[in-house]
Amino acid sequence: MSRPVEVSEVSKWYGQVVAVNGMSLGLEPGVTGLLGPNGAGKSTLMKMLTGQIRPSRGRVELLGHVPWNDPDLNRRVGYCPEQDTFYEWMTGRRFVTALLGLAGFERAEARRRAEAALAEVGMTEVGDKKIGGYSKGMRQRIKLAQAIAHDPEVLILDEPVSGLDPVGRRHIIDLVRKWGAQGRTILVSTHILHEVEAMTSAVLLIHHGRLLAEGDVHEIRDLIDEHPRLITMVTPDPRALAARLLTEQDVVSVRFERGSRSITAETVRPDEFYRRLPALVLQEGVEIEEMSSPDDNLQAVFDYLVR
Protein backbone atom coordinates (compact mmCIF):
# COMPACT_ATOMS: atom_id res chain seq x y z
CA MET A 1 0.00 0.00 0.00
CA SER A 2 1.36 3.41 -0.91
CA ARG A 3 2.06 6.04 1.69
CA PRO A 4 -0.57 8.73 2.38
CA VAL A 5 1.73 11.45 1.03
CA GLU A 6 4.11 10.90 -1.87
CA VAL A 7 6.23 13.62 -3.40
CA SER A 8 8.28 12.61 -6.44
CA GLU A 9 10.94 14.83 -7.99
CA VAL A 10 8.88 17.93 -7.32
CA SER A 11 10.14 21.38 -8.23
CA LYS A 12 8.42 24.72 -8.00
CA TRP A 13 9.82 27.94 -9.29
CA TYR A 14 8.47 31.45 -9.46
CA GLY A 15 10.10 33.08 -12.43
CA GLN A 16 13.79 32.57 -11.82
CA VAL A 17 13.39 31.84 -8.11
CA VAL A 18 13.44 28.16 -7.20
CA ALA A 19 11.30 27.53 -4.14
CA VAL A 20 11.39 23.73 -4.19
CA ASN A 21 14.05 21.87 -6.11
CA GLY A 22 13.69 18.23 -7.16
CA MET A 23 12.26 17.06 -3.86
CA SER A 24 11.17 13.48 -3.26
CA LEU A 25 9.72 12.25 0.01
CA GLY A 26 6.95 10.18 1.51
CA LEU A 27 5.01 10.45 4.73
CA GLU A 28 3.74 7.59 6.85
CA PRO A 29 0.79 7.95 9.24
CA GLY A 30 1.85 9.76 12.39
CA VAL A 31 3.60 13.05 12.95
CA THR A 32 6.46 14.16 10.72
CA GLY A 33 8.37 17.37 11.37
CA LEU A 34 9.33 19.56 8.46
CA LEU A 35 12.36 21.57 9.42
CA GLY A 36 14.05 24.37 7.65
CA PRO A 37 14.92 28.01 8.01
CA ASN A 38 12.67 30.77 6.68
CA GLY A 39 12.63 30.63 2.89
CA ALA A 40 13.64 26.97 2.76
CA GLY A 41 10.49 26.06 0.83
CA LYS A 42 8.39 24.64 3.68
CA SER A 43 5.27 26.69 2.97
CA THR A 44 5.55 26.15 -0.78
CA LEU A 45 5.75 22.40 -0.24
CA MET A 46 2.73 22.53 2.07
CA LYS A 47 0.74 24.57 -0.42
CA MET A 48 1.53 22.04 -3.13
CA LEU A 49 0.35 19.28 -0.80
CA THR A 50 -2.94 21.07 -0.20
CA GLY A 51 -3.40 21.70 -3.94
CA GLN A 52 -3.12 25.46 -3.61
CA ILE A 53 -0.26 25.69 -6.02
CA ARG A 54 0.76 23.44 -8.85
CA PRO A 55 4.23 21.93 -8.99
CA SER A 56 6.30 23.20 -11.91
CA ARG A 57 7.66 19.68 -12.29
CA GLY A 58 7.22 16.32 -10.62
CA ARG A 59 4.25 14.72 -8.94
CA VAL A 60 2.53 15.23 -5.62
CA GLU A 61 0.08 12.60 -4.39
CA LEU A 62 -2.12 12.80 -1.35
CA LEU A 63 -4.13 9.74 -0.38
CA GLY A 64 -3.57 8.43 -3.89
CA HIS A 65 -4.83 11.58 -5.60
CA VAL A 66 -3.14 14.56 -7.21
CA PRO A 67 -4.25 17.49 -5.02
CA TRP A 68 -4.00 20.19 -7.71
CA ASN A 69 -7.44 20.92 -9.15
CA ASP A 70 -9.08 18.36 -6.89
CA PRO A 71 -10.95 20.38 -4.27
CA ASP A 72 -12.89 17.30 -3.14
CA LEU A 73 -9.66 15.95 -1.72
CA ASN A 74 -9.68 18.83 0.76
CA ARG A 75 -12.53 17.10 2.56
CA ARG A 76 -9.86 14.69 3.78
CA VAL A 77 -7.15 17.26 4.43
CA GLY A 78 -6.87 19.83 7.19
CA TYR A 79 -4.65 22.87 6.67
CA CYS A 80 -3.46 25.30 9.29
CA PRO A 81 -1.81 28.25 7.54
CA GLU A 82 1.04 30.22 8.99
CA GLN A 83 -0.59 33.65 8.96
CA ASP A 84 -3.02 34.53 11.70
CA THR A 85 -4.78 37.61 10.43
CA PHE A 86 -8.37 36.59 9.88
CA TYR A 87 -11.78 38.14 9.96
CA GLU A 88 -11.19 40.14 13.10
CA TRP A 89 -14.89 40.94 13.49
CA MET A 90 -15.95 37.30 13.42
CA THR A 91 -16.28 35.18 16.53
CA GLY A 92 -14.15 32.07 16.78
CA ARG A 93 -17.21 29.84 16.87
CA ARG A 94 -18.68 31.40 13.75
CA PHE A 95 -15.33 31.23 11.97
CA VAL A 96 -15.05 27.47 12.50
CA THR A 97 -18.72 26.90 11.68
CA ALA A 98 -18.47 28.93 8.44
CA LEU A 99 -15.44 26.96 7.28
CA LEU A 100 -17.24 23.70 8.05
CA GLY A 101 -20.02 24.95 5.79
CA LEU A 102 -17.44 25.30 3.04
CA ALA A 103 -16.37 21.72 3.71
CA GLY A 104 -19.90 20.65 2.83
CA PHE A 105 -21.52 20.07 6.21
CA GLU A 106 -25.12 21.07 6.78
CA ARG A 107 -25.70 23.80 9.35
CA ALA A 108 -26.63 21.59 12.31
CA GLU A 109 -23.73 19.21 11.75
CA ALA A 110 -21.36 22.15 11.20
CA ARG A 111 -22.42 23.64 14.53
CA ARG A 112 -21.99 20.33 16.32
CA ARG A 113 -18.55 19.80 14.83
CA ALA A 114 -17.48 23.36 15.56
CA GLU A 115 -18.34 22.82 19.23
CA ALA A 116 -16.36 19.59 19.30
CA ALA A 117 -13.37 21.24 17.62
CA LEU A 118 -13.47 24.22 19.98
CA ALA A 119 -13.59 21.86 22.93
CA GLU A 120 -10.67 19.87 21.50
CA VAL A 121 -8.43 22.94 21.39
CA GLY A 122 -9.76 24.39 24.67
CA MET A 123 -11.59 27.34 23.13
CA THR A 124 -15.18 26.62 24.13
CA GLU A 125 -15.40 29.42 26.64
CA VAL A 126 -13.97 32.09 24.38
CA GLY A 127 -15.71 30.85 21.22
CA ASP A 128 -18.11 33.79 21.21
CA LYS A 129 -15.39 36.41 21.49
CA LYS A 130 -14.34 38.20 18.35
CA ILE A 131 -11.10 36.98 16.78
CA GLY A 132 -9.80 40.55 16.96
CA GLY A 133 -9.69 40.19 20.74
CA TYR A 134 -7.80 36.88 20.70
CA SER A 135 -4.27 36.44 21.93
CA LYS A 136 -1.64 34.86 19.71
CA GLY A 137 -2.20 31.51 21.39
CA MET A 138 -5.96 31.68 20.88
CA ARG A 139 -5.47 32.49 17.22
CA GLN A 140 -3.24 29.48 16.77
CA ARG A 141 -5.77 27.29 18.50
CA ILE A 142 -8.71 28.58 16.46
CA LYS A 143 -6.67 27.86 13.30
CA LEU A 144 -6.10 24.34 14.53
CA ALA A 145 -9.80 24.00 15.35
CA GLN A 146 -10.79 24.79 11.77
CA ALA A 147 -8.13 22.40 10.47
CA ILE A 148 -9.34 19.47 12.57
CA ALA A 149 -13.07 20.22 12.64
CA HIS A 150 -13.94 18.18 9.54
CA ASP A 151 -11.97 15.22 10.87
CA PRO A 152 -9.30 15.04 8.16
CA GLU A 153 -7.02 12.08 7.47
CA VAL A 154 -4.09 14.31 6.62
CA LEU A 155 -3.15 17.44 8.54
CA ILE A 156 -0.78 20.04 7.17
CA LEU A 157 0.24 22.42 9.95
CA ASP A 158 2.37 25.42 9.02
CA GLU A 159 4.23 26.75 12.07
CA PRO A 160 1.42 25.88 14.51
CA VAL A 161 3.36 26.71 17.67
CA SER A 162 5.23 29.80 16.59
CA GLY A 163 4.95 32.69 18.99
CA LEU A 164 3.21 30.73 21.72
CA ASP A 165 3.98 30.87 25.42
CA PRO A 166 5.30 27.64 26.99
CA VAL A 167 1.88 26.57 28.28
CA GLY A 168 0.20 27.16 24.94
CA ARG A 169 3.04 25.42 23.14
CA ARG A 170 2.77 22.40 25.40
CA HIS A 171 -0.97 22.21 24.81
CA ILE A 172 -0.64 22.29 21.03
CA ILE A 173 2.24 19.83 21.01
CA ASP A 174 0.11 17.44 23.06
CA LEU A 175 -2.77 17.87 20.63
CA VAL A 176 -0.58 17.18 17.60
CA ARG A 177 0.84 14.09 19.25
CA LYS A 178 -2.65 12.90 20.10
CA TRP A 179 -3.89 13.39 16.54
CA GLY A 180 -0.84 11.58 15.24
CA ALA A 181 -1.52 8.68 17.60
CA GLN A 182 -5.04 8.46 16.17
CA GLY A 183 -3.51 7.37 12.88
CA ARG A 184 -3.67 10.67 11.01
CA THR A 185 -0.81 11.68 8.77
CA ILE A 186 0.50 15.00 10.06
CA LEU A 187 3.15 17.23 8.60
CA VAL A 188 4.23 20.00 10.97
CA SER A 189 6.57 22.70 9.82
CA THR A 190 8.74 24.79 12.04
CA HIS A 191 12.09 26.46 12.03
CA ILE A 192 12.48 25.98 15.77
CA LEU A 193 13.86 22.54 16.20
CA HIS A 194 13.15 21.80 19.80
CA GLU A 195 9.46 22.28 19.05
CA VAL A 196 9.41 19.46 16.57
CA GLU A 197 11.58 17.28 18.76
CA ALA A 198 8.81 17.42 21.34
CA MET A 199 6.25 16.20 18.79
CA THR A 200 8.06 13.50 16.87
CA SER A 201 11.36 11.90 16.05
CA ALA A 202 10.49 11.60 12.35
CA VAL A 203 11.87 14.63 10.60
CA LEU A 204 12.51 16.05 7.16
CA LEU A 205 15.17 18.71 6.86
CA ILE A 206 14.92 21.06 3.91
CA HIS A 207 17.12 23.91 2.86
CA HIS A 208 17.09 26.12 -0.24
CA GLY A 209 14.20 24.07 -1.59
CA ARG A 210 16.07 20.79 -1.36
CA LEU A 211 15.54 17.83 0.92
CA LEU A 212 18.64 17.76 3.05
CA ALA A 213 17.93 14.73 5.19
CA GLU A 214 15.02 12.57 6.32
CA GLY A 215 14.32 9.92 8.89
CA ASP A 216 14.67 9.55 12.61
CA VAL A 217 16.56 12.20 14.52
CA HIS A 218 19.16 9.57 15.39
CA GLU A 219 19.56 8.53 11.75
CA ILE A 220 20.17 12.13 10.88
CA ARG A 221 22.57 12.32 13.74
CA ASP A 222 24.59 9.48 12.17
CA LEU A 223 24.81 11.41 8.94
CA ILE A 224 26.86 14.11 10.54
CA ASP A 225 29.72 11.95 11.70
CA GLU A 226 31.83 13.37 8.94
CA HIS A 227 31.06 16.91 10.00
CA PRO A 228 32.76 18.92 12.75
CA ARG A 229 31.20 18.56 16.15
CA LEU A 230 31.24 20.86 19.16
CA ILE A 231 32.21 19.58 22.61
CA THR A 232 32.06 21.78 25.68
CA MET A 233 34.22 21.03 28.70
CA VAL A 234 34.46 22.63 32.14
CA THR A 235 37.97 22.66 33.55
CA PRO A 236 39.87 24.54 36.31
CA ASP A 237 42.47 25.63 33.75
CA PRO A 238 40.77 26.33 30.42
CA ARG A 239 43.88 27.80 28.77
CA ALA A 240 46.02 24.76 29.51
CA LEU A 241 43.34 22.41 28.19
CA ALA A 242 42.87 24.56 25.09
CA ALA A 243 46.60 24.52 24.40
CA ARG A 244 46.69 20.74 24.79
CA LEU A 245 43.71 20.15 22.54
CA LEU A 246 45.08 22.34 19.78
CA THR A 247 48.05 20.00 19.39
CA GLU A 248 45.67 17.40 17.98
CA GLN A 249 45.08 17.41 14.22
CA ASP A 250 41.34 16.76 14.43
CA VAL A 251 40.67 19.80 16.63
CA VAL A 252 40.00 22.71 14.30
CA SER A 253 39.05 25.40 16.83
CA VAL A 254 38.71 26.13 20.51
CA ARG A 255 36.49 28.85 21.94
CA PHE A 256 36.59 30.30 25.46
CA GLU A 257 33.30 31.03 27.12
CA ARG A 258 33.42 34.51 28.64
CA GLY A 259 33.25 34.54 32.44
CA SER A 260 33.24 30.78 32.87
CA ARG A 261 35.68 27.93 33.14
CA SER A 262 34.41 26.16 30.08
CA ILE A 263 35.79 25.88 26.58
CA THR A 264 34.17 24.58 23.44
CA ALA A 265 36.30 22.55 21.07
CA GLU A 266 35.38 21.77 17.47
CA THR A 267 36.55 18.42 16.15
CA VAL A 268 36.25 16.90 12.70
CA ARG A 269 36.71 13.35 14.05
CA PRO A 270 34.51 13.11 17.15
CA ASP A 271 35.08 9.36 17.66
CA GLU A 272 38.83 9.88 17.80
CA PHE A 273 38.38 12.86 20.12
CA TYR A 274 36.23 10.90 22.58
CA ARG A 275 38.63 7.91 22.47
CA ARG A 276 41.57 10.13 23.36
CA LEU A 277 39.92 11.89 26.31
CA PRO A 278 40.36 9.16 28.97
CA ALA A 279 44.07 9.02 28.20
CA LEU A 280 44.32 12.79 28.53
CA VAL A 281 42.69 12.69 31.95
CA LEU A 282 44.40 9.59 33.31
CA GLN A 283 47.89 9.85 31.82
CA GLU A 284 48.45 13.57 31.39
CA GLY A 285 46.48 14.71 34.46
CA VAL A 286 44.22 17.08 32.57
CA GLU A 287 41.21 17.94 34.74
CA ILE A 288 37.79 17.90 33.09
CA GLU A 289 34.89 18.43 35.48
CA GLU A 290 32.02 18.39 33.06
CA MET A 291 31.56 17.59 29.43
CA SER A 292 28.62 18.03 27.09
CA SER A 293 27.92 18.36 23.41
CA PRO A 294 25.60 21.11 22.25
CA ASP A 295 25.16 18.83 19.24
CA ASP A 296 22.60 16.91 21.23
CA ASN A 297 20.17 19.62 20.22
CA LEU A 298 18.72 19.12 16.75
CA GLN A 299 19.62 22.69 15.92
CA ALA A 300 23.24 21.66 15.77
CA VAL A 301 22.45 18.77 13.46
CA PHE A 302 20.71 21.16 11.17
CA ASP A 303 23.55 23.65 11.30
CA TYR A 304 26.02 20.98 10.33
CA LEU A 305 23.95 19.64 7.50
CA VAL A 306 23.40 22.99 5.87
CA ARG A 307 26.96 24.13 6.30
Binding site: P71, Q83, L99, A103
Partner: protein, 279 residues
Protein backbone atom coordinates in the same frame (compact mmCIF):
# COMPACT_ATOMS: atom_id res chain seq x y z
CA UNK B 1 -13.00 -5.34 28.61
CA UNK B 2 -13.93 -3.88 25.19
CA UNK B 3 -11.01 -2.32 23.35
CA UNK B 4 -12.15 0.59 21.22
CA UNK B 5 -10.64 1.52 17.89
CA UNK B 6 -9.16 5.00 18.24
CA UNK B 7 -7.80 5.17 14.71
CA UNK B 8 -9.10 7.61 12.12
CA UNK B 9 -12.67 7.10 10.97
CA UNK B 10 -13.90 9.24 8.13
CA UNK B 11 -17.30 10.98 8.23
CA UNK B 12 -19.75 9.03 6.13
CA UNK B 13 -22.77 11.24 6.76
CA UNK B 14 -24.34 13.55 4.16
CA UNK B 15 -22.26 16.31 2.60
CA UNK B 16 -23.32 19.04 0.23
CA UNK B 17 -22.63 18.30 -3.43
CA UNK B 18 -20.08 20.11 -5.56
CA UNK B 19 -22.79 22.13 -7.30
CA UNK B 20 -23.85 23.95 -4.16
CA UNK B 21 -20.43 24.97 -2.87
CA UNK B 22 -20.80 28.52 -4.16
CA UNK B 23 -24.15 28.81 -2.43
CA UNK B 24 -22.53 28.46 0.98
CA UNK B 25 -20.37 31.51 0.27
CA UNK B 26 -23.29 33.46 -1.18
CA UNK B 27 -25.62 32.65 1.72
CA UNK B 28 -23.00 33.53 4.31
CA UNK B 29 -22.27 36.84 2.57
CA UNK B 30 -25.93 37.78 2.23
CA UNK B 31 -26.67 36.89 5.86
CA UNK B 32 -23.68 38.84 7.02
CA UNK B 33 -24.70 42.00 5.16
CA UNK B 34 -28.32 41.75 6.23
CA UNK B 35 -27.16 41.56 9.83
CA UNK B 36 -25.72 45.07 9.48
CA UNK B 37 -28.53 47.32 10.58
CA UNK B 38 -27.49 50.36 8.57
CA UNK B 39 -27.21 48.34 5.41
CA UNK B 40 -30.59 46.71 6.01
CA UNK B 41 -32.09 50.17 6.61
CA UNK B 42 -30.58 51.40 3.35
CA UNK B 43 -32.15 48.46 1.50
CA UNK B 44 -35.53 49.38 2.91
CA UNK B 45 -35.04 53.04 2.03
CA UNK B 46 -34.20 51.97 -1.52
CA UNK B 47 -37.81 50.86 -1.84
CA UNK B 48 -39.22 54.16 -0.57
CA UNK B 49 -39.40 55.84 -4.01
CA UNK B 50 -41.24 52.81 -5.34
CA UNK B 51 -43.84 53.18 -2.57
CA UNK B 52 -44.48 56.80 -3.59
CA UNK B 53 -44.66 55.75 -7.24
CA UNK B 54 -47.03 52.95 -6.31
CA UNK B 55 -49.44 55.54 -4.92
CA UNK B 56 -49.19 57.67 -8.06
CA UNK B 57 -49.60 54.60 -10.26
CA UNK B 58 -52.64 53.42 -8.34
CA UNK B 59 -54.40 56.76 -8.60
CA UNK B 60 -53.46 57.13 -12.28
CA UNK B 61 -54.73 53.70 -13.29
CA UNK B 62 -57.89 53.72 -11.20
CA UNK B 63 -58.73 57.26 -12.21
CA UNK B 64 -59.42 58.46 -8.68
CA UNK B 65 -58.28 61.81 -7.28
CA UNK B 66 -58.14 63.12 -10.85
CA UNK B 67 -54.53 61.99 -11.42
CA UNK B 68 -53.92 61.95 -15.14
CA UNK B 69 -50.53 60.40 -15.85
CA UNK B 70 -49.75 58.02 -18.70
CA UNK B 71 -48.45 54.76 -17.25
CA UNK B 72 -46.18 53.19 -19.85
CA UNK B 73 -42.58 52.49 -20.73
CA UNK B 74 -41.38 55.97 -19.76
CA UNK B 75 -42.90 55.74 -16.28
CA UNK B 76 -41.01 52.53 -15.59
CA UNK B 77 -37.81 53.81 -17.14
CA UNK B 78 -37.96 56.81 -14.81
CA UNK B 79 -38.57 54.40 -11.96
CA UNK B 80 -35.37 52.57 -12.89
CA UNK B 81 -33.45 55.83 -13.19
CA UNK B 82 -34.55 56.69 -9.64
CA UNK B 83 -33.08 53.38 -8.47
CA UNK B 84 -29.65 54.37 -9.81
CA UNK B 85 -28.61 55.90 -6.48
CA UNK B 86 -29.41 52.79 -4.42
CA UNK B 87 -27.65 50.75 -7.11
CA UNK B 88 -24.45 52.74 -6.65
CA UNK B 89 -24.78 52.67 -2.86
CA UNK B 90 -25.14 48.89 -2.81
CA UNK B 91 -22.21 48.44 -5.15
CA UNK B 92 -20.02 50.58 -2.92
CA UNK B 93 -21.36 49.36 0.42
CA UNK B 94 -21.78 45.67 -0.26
CA UNK B 95 -19.57 44.98 -3.24
CA UNK B 96 -16.36 46.84 -2.65
CA UNK B 97 -15.33 44.81 0.40
CA UNK B 98 -16.43 41.38 -0.76
CA UNK B 99 -13.03 40.26 -2.03
CA UNK B 100 -10.86 43.07 -0.63
CA UNK B 101 -11.88 41.96 2.86
CA UNK B 102 -10.75 38.40 2.17
CA UNK B 103 -7.47 39.62 0.72
CA UNK B 104 -6.86 41.83 3.74
CA UNK B 105 -7.63 38.92 6.06
CA UNK B 106 -5.47 36.59 3.93
CA UNK B 107 -8.43 34.27 3.87
CA UNK B 108 -7.95 32.87 0.38
CA UNK B 109 -5.56 30.10 1.45
CA UNK B 110 -8.17 29.06 4.00
CA UNK B 111 -10.97 29.09 1.44
CA UNK B 112 -8.98 27.04 -1.04
CA UNK B 113 -7.88 24.55 1.60
CA UNK B 114 -11.57 23.59 1.71
CA UNK B 115 -13.31 21.66 -1.06
CA UNK B 116 -14.12 24.70 -3.19
CA UNK B 117 -12.78 25.89 -6.53
CA UNK B 118 -11.88 29.40 -7.65
CA UNK B 119 -15.06 29.41 -9.71
CA UNK B 120 -17.09 28.48 -6.60
CA UNK B 121 -15.51 31.35 -4.73
CA UNK B 122 -16.12 33.91 -7.48
CA UNK B 123 -19.66 32.62 -8.08
CA UNK B 124 -20.38 32.84 -4.34
CA UNK B 125 -19.20 36.43 -4.12
CA UNK B 126 -21.03 37.24 -7.34
CA UNK B 127 -24.18 35.72 -5.83
CA UNK B 128 -23.98 38.11 -2.88
CA UNK B 129 -23.67 41.31 -4.86
CA UNK B 130 -26.01 40.37 -7.69
CA UNK B 131 -28.69 39.45 -5.13
CA UNK B 132 -28.62 42.91 -3.58
CA UNK B 133 -28.35 44.70 -6.91
CA UNK B 134 -31.40 42.86 -8.23
CA UNK B 135 -33.18 43.69 -4.99
CA UNK B 136 -32.69 47.44 -5.33
CA UNK B 137 -32.53 47.95 -9.09
CA UNK B 138 -35.04 45.98 -11.18
CA UNK B 139 -37.11 44.61 -8.30
CA UNK B 140 -38.93 47.85 -7.29
CA UNK B 141 -39.90 48.81 -10.90
CA UNK B 142 -40.87 45.21 -11.54
CA UNK B 143 -43.07 45.22 -8.46
CA UNK B 144 -44.61 48.46 -9.72
CA UNK B 145 -45.28 46.83 -13.08
CA UNK B 146 -47.00 43.87 -11.44
CA UNK B 147 -49.02 46.27 -9.29
CA UNK B 148 -50.05 48.18 -12.38
CA UNK B 149 -51.16 44.98 -14.06
CA UNK B 150 -53.11 44.08 -10.94
CA UNK B 151 -54.89 47.37 -10.33
CA UNK B 152 -55.59 48.32 -13.96
CA UNK B 153 -59.39 48.25 -14.50
CA UNK B 154 -59.07 46.14 -17.65
CA UNK B 155 -56.50 44.31 -19.77
CA UNK B 156 -55.68 47.35 -21.90
CA UNK B 157 -52.62 48.20 -19.79
CA UNK B 158 -51.18 44.68 -20.12
CA UNK B 159 -52.02 44.42 -23.82
CA UNK B 160 -50.18 47.67 -24.53
CA UNK B 161 -47.26 47.27 -22.12
CA UNK B 162 -46.65 43.52 -21.65
CA UNK B 163 -43.14 43.85 -23.05
CA UNK B 164 -42.17 46.53 -20.50
CA UNK B 165 -41.94 43.87 -17.80
CA UNK B 166 -39.34 42.06 -19.88
CA UNK B 167 -37.52 45.34 -20.52
CA UNK B 168 -37.30 46.01 -16.78
CA UNK B 169 -36.08 42.49 -16.13
CA UNK B 170 -33.65 42.36 -19.06
CA UNK B 171 -32.13 45.77 -18.46
CA UNK B 172 -32.03 45.26 -14.69
CA UNK B 173 -30.32 41.88 -14.97
CA UNK B 174 -27.85 43.23 -17.55
CA UNK B 175 -26.83 46.14 -15.31
CA UNK B 176 -26.73 43.96 -12.20
CA UNK B 177 -24.52 41.34 -13.86
CA UNK B 178 -22.07 43.82 -15.41
CA UNK B 179 -22.07 45.97 -12.27
CA UNK B 180 -21.45 42.96 -10.03
CA UNK B 181 -18.54 41.71 -12.09
CA UNK B 182 -17.05 45.20 -12.26
CA UNK B 183 -17.20 45.92 -8.55
CA UNK B 184 -15.87 42.43 -7.74
CA UNK B 185 -12.94 43.01 -10.11
CA UNK B 186 -12.17 46.33 -8.41
CA UNK B 187 -12.52 44.67 -5.02
CA UNK B 188 -10.02 42.00 -6.04
CA UNK B 189 -7.52 44.72 -6.94
CA UNK B 190 -7.53 46.27 -3.47
CA UNK B 191 -6.96 45.16 0.08
CA UNK B 192 -9.44 47.64 1.46
CA UNK B 193 -13.11 48.23 0.71
CA UNK B 194 -12.47 51.95 0.93
CA UNK B 195 -9.89 51.88 -1.85
CA UNK B 196 -12.15 49.74 -4.05
CA UNK B 197 -15.01 52.20 -3.42
CA UNK B 198 -12.86 55.19 -4.32
CA UNK B 199 -11.72 53.40 -7.47
CA UNK B 200 -15.33 52.64 -8.42
CA UNK B 201 -16.75 56.09 -7.75
CA UNK B 202 -13.70 57.71 -9.33
CA UNK B 203 -14.00 55.61 -12.48
CA UNK B 204 -17.73 56.28 -12.85
CA UNK B 205 -17.39 60.04 -12.31
CA UNK B 206 -14.09 60.38 -14.14
CA UNK B 207 -15.30 58.43 -17.16
CA UNK B 208 -18.39 60.62 -17.38
CA UNK B 209 -16.43 63.87 -17.07
CA UNK B 210 -13.82 62.76 -19.57
CA UNK B 211 -16.43 61.56 -22.05
CA UNK B 212 -18.42 64.81 -21.83
CA UNK B 213 -15.27 66.89 -22.25
CA UNK B 214 -14.09 64.84 -25.21
CA UNK B 215 -17.55 65.10 -26.74
CA UNK B 216 -17.47 68.89 -26.40
CA UNK B 217 -13.97 69.19 -27.86
CA UNK B 218 -14.56 66.86 -30.79
CA UNK B 219 -18.17 68.01 -31.27
CA UNK B 220 -19.09 64.37 -31.60
CA UNK B 221 -21.24 62.05 -29.50
CA UNK B 222 -18.91 59.10 -30.04
CA UNK B 223 -16.65 59.82 -27.01
CA UNK B 224 -19.76 59.42 -24.83
CA UNK B 225 -19.18 55.68 -25.23
CA UNK B 226 -16.50 56.10 -22.52
CA UNK B 227 -19.08 57.24 -20.00
CA UNK B 228 -20.65 54.52 -17.83
CA UNK B 229 -23.71 56.66 -17.12
CA UNK B 230 -24.27 57.57 -20.79
CA UNK B 231 -23.97 53.97 -21.91
CA UNK B 232 -26.50 52.92 -19.29
CA UNK B 233 -28.86 55.68 -20.39
CA UNK B 234 -28.49 54.69 -24.04
CA UNK B 235 -29.16 51.05 -23.32
CA UNK B 236 -32.16 51.87 -21.15
CA UNK B 237 -33.65 54.04 -23.89
CA UNK B 238 -33.17 51.25 -26.41
CA UNK B 239 -34.67 48.56 -24.19
CA UNK B 240 -37.67 50.69 -23.24
CA UNK B 241 -38.20 51.69 -26.88
CA UNK B 242 -37.75 55.40 -26.19
CA UNK B 243 -35.96 58.09 -28.19
CA UNK B 244 -32.52 58.77 -26.76
CA UNK B 245 -30.66 62.00 -26.16
CA UNK B 246 -27.36 60.08 -26.23
CA UNK B 247 -26.19 60.03 -29.81
CA UNK B 248 -24.35 56.74 -29.88
CA UNK B 249 -25.63 53.43 -31.26
CA UNK B 250 -27.09 51.18 -28.56
CA UNK B 251 -25.02 48.32 -29.97
CA UNK B 252 -21.88 50.25 -29.09
CA UNK B 253 -23.11 50.79 -25.54
CA UNK B 254 -23.86 47.09 -25.25
CA UNK B 255 -20.40 46.33 -26.63
CA UNK B 256 -18.81 48.56 -23.99
CA UNK B 257 -20.80 46.75 -21.32
CA UNK B 258 -19.69 43.35 -22.60
CA UNK B 259 -16.10 44.58 -22.73
CA UNK B 260 -16.31 45.72 -19.09
CA UNK B 261 -17.74 42.33 -18.12
CA UNK B 262 -14.99 40.45 -19.97
CA UNK B 263 -12.27 42.61 -18.42
CA UNK B 264 -13.80 42.08 -14.99
CA UNK B 265 -13.98 38.31 -15.43
CA UNK B 266 -10.37 38.24 -16.67
CA UNK B 267 -9.23 40.34 -13.72
CA UNK B 268 -11.04 38.06 -11.28
CA UNK B 269 -9.54 34.96 -12.84
CA UNK B 270 -6.09 36.50 -12.59
CA UNK B 271 -6.40 37.92 -9.08
CA UNK B 272 -8.25 35.16 -7.27
CA UNK B 273 -5.56 32.68 -6.44
CA UNK B 274 -4.97 30.82 -3.20
CA UNK B 275 -1.39 31.94 -3.10
CA UNK B 276 -0.19 35.43 -3.75
CA UNK B 277 2.95 35.30 -5.84
CA UNK B 278 5.31 38.09 -4.87
CA UNK B 279 7.78 38.59 -7.66
Amino acid sequence: MPIHDLSYRHWDGPLRGAGSRWRVIAEAGIRLLLARRRFAAMLMLAWAPALVQAGILYFALTGVQGVDLPIGAQFFQISMAIQFLPLVLVMVWAGSGLIAGDLAAQALPLYFAKPITRLDYIAGKFGVIVFFLLLVYPAPPLALFLLAAGVAPDLTFLAQNWWVGFSILGYGVLVAVIGSLFILALSSMARSARIASVMFVGLVIFSDMLANLASLVTRSDLPLAFSAAKNMERLADAMFGLPSSVGIPWGLSLGVGVLVAVWSAWTLARRIRPVEIVS
